[in-house]
């Protein structure tokens, strides 16, 4: 499901920390999940099985609609907005309030996945340094 770039294995603890950091940075966030290269849930804000199934369904439909593996998905509805992103062999899915700033949300998600794939905890160098 995520893109096919090689990544080192990401621990569940790092993913959980990254998810908490994303929630802290994004006041509009309602829920989110981080998935590994096989579509398994590394961290989720709720029922991991449901997040796995629903995220897989979203990526599958999007890939079919696009005719190839998509990198980003943004769907806005009256009830809320869904953001999904594949990066560095990982994937993140987030649900936000309406009118969340798309570029900022994707930027945060991409930074988080990049840092996780590099062995970090999603906060990047500055965040990790600031916390220590």
């Amino acid at each position: 499901m995520p893109d096919d770039a090689a990544t080192r294995s990401v621990s569940g603890d790092s993913a959980e920390f990254a998810l908490a950091f994303l929630a802290e940075m994004s006041p509009d966030l309602r829920g989110a999940a981080i998935l590994d290269g096989e579509g398994g849930v590394l961290a989720a804000s709720g029922d991991p099985q449901r997040w796995r199934e629903d995220a897989a369904a979203l990526f599958a439909v999007a890939d079919r609609a696009a005719g190839e593996g998509v990198e980003q998905i943004h769907i806005g509805t009256e009830q809320g907005e869904v953001f999904a992103l594949r990066h560095a062999g990982l994937a993140a899915v987030a649900v936000t309030e309406r009118f969340a700033l798309a570029s900022l949300t994707f930027f945060d998600m991409r930074s988080l996945l990049r840092d996780l794939a590099a062995g970090g905890d999603g906060r990047g160098k500055e965040g990790a340094a600031g916390a220590s």
Binding site: R30, G31, A32, S45, G46, D47, R50, W51, D54, A55, A57, L58, V61, A62, R64, A65, A66, E68, V70, E71, Q72, I73, H74, I75, G76, T77, E78, Q79, G80, V82, V93, V95, F99
Partner: protein, 73 residues
């Protein structure tokens, strides 16, 4: 007498803020549901809700929104 320089600056900043507020009001009033897919390289495509695949995208998104809402509620 010409206006003081700080008055010109304040008026200009207020003007920009008013424009931004009006833009946000229009955006909230007129924005319709959308499904946008981005490929590598920045290419994007929209899928209307009244197409088969567009409809499936909204159904999949709706399940995630419902899931996240249930967790919060």
């Amino acid at each position: 007498m010409p206006p003081k320089p700080h008055r010109i600056l304040l008026d200009r900043v207020s003007g920009y803020a008013d424009e931004a507020a009006a833009y946000m009001r229009r955006r909230r009033a007129f924005r319709r549901p959308f499904a946008r897919l981005y490929h590598g390289g920045g290419r994007a495509e929209d899928h209307a809700a009244d197409t088969e695949l567009g409809g499936e995208l909204f159904v999949a998104a709706g399940r995630l929104i419902e899931l996240a809402g249930r967790e919060r509620g």
